[in-house]
Symmetry: C2
Subunit: 186 residues, 2 copies
């Protein structure tokens, strides 16, 4: 095997992503990551520092890449919700990583995410001023509810998952339609 540090880093990142998504930070084992990545444990520490820092690297690499992957159009929030839904379907680990991040890093404030949020809130406010969006809710209120609806199907309790879920297309339709009702002028 030729030596390729870049490839090794990538393998470690991939393995770490799967491990952290499955077990969270506290539950993940560095040895398991090393095994899965076919890399030596010491390399993980050399390339990424501590376990926590490895999580940060994974989170930044995967989640931040998707923050702006979904196009945001304040005048079409149903469409935004639908595209968010699609992303959660395509990359199921992303939401799990985000949830672990929320639970295990309650004080972690990534500048890129903060900036992305601010931009979205500003766009909503602008759309409201232009009369293209309901003013029944503040920008933060809108973003909060739209996001909640977009990930509603992916935050099911294990028990609700027992009930037969509608088709993916129908779930998406429900999300989009719910947001449409939320933002429609009265």
């Amino acid at each position: 095997m030729a030596r390729d540090s870049e490839a090794t880093r990538a393998r470690i990142l991939d393995a770490a992503e799967a491990e952290f998504a499955a077990y969270g930070i506290a539950g993940s084992r560095v040895d398991r990551i090393a095994d899965a990545a076919l890399a030596n444990k010491a390399l993980i520490y050399k390339y990424f520092g501590t376990k926590d820092e490895l999580f940060d690297a994974v989170f930044a690499h995967r989640v931040l890449a998707f923050v702006d992957e979904v196009e945001f159009d304040a005048t079409d929030l149903p469409g935004y919700a639908g595209r968010s839904f699609d992303l959660y379907e395509r990359f199921p680990t992303t939401l799990r990583l985000t949830t672990w991040y929320q639970l295990e890093r309650p004080d972690g404030k990534l500048p890129a995410i903060v900036a992305s949020n601010d931009a979205k809130l500003a766009k909503i406010e602008e759309a409201q001023r232009a009369g293209k969006l309901t003013t029944a809710y503040s920008p933060l209120e809108l973003l909060t509810e739209v996001r909640a609806l977009a990930m509603s199907w992916h935050l099911h309790t294990p028990e609700l998952a027992l009930v037969r879920r509608p088709s993916r297309a129908r779930c998406r339709e429900v999300v989009v339609e719910s947001v449409r009702r939320l933002v429609e002028h009265d």
Copy 2:
């Protein structure tokens, strides 16, 4: 009963609830629970078995108690959402426990929760048949979206929490109003 084992059990349960809510199953430390409960570690194992079983006991004791704490009225889903919101405000640990449960126990299916869900779905179906509830969504779809909206404010990312949140009363109003729009006949 010599000495008060019931009180000791209760102290352990309380301490375990706080610990699990804060750190999850993998991140929790039995020693910390014992210290916080002013109880000996061996008693934890004597009364509750393993750490996993202790989590189950906490989850059953706290969360199951609240499953039917909130009165469910299929003809007044906005009211149900509001009352759910109130519960999340009153007992912030409950939602965290539930989230850890979802992440760390993806296969855990508690009969009491399943039964409670089934009952709610049946009530929704009945209300729909009686023409008292929109039929634009299936019972599962309605329950999913209503729940997502009810906990929308409590699933904020750390980054969104930086933005000044509206007053509790206003958040509640937003939840109730969102559900009202969701279920209104068109």
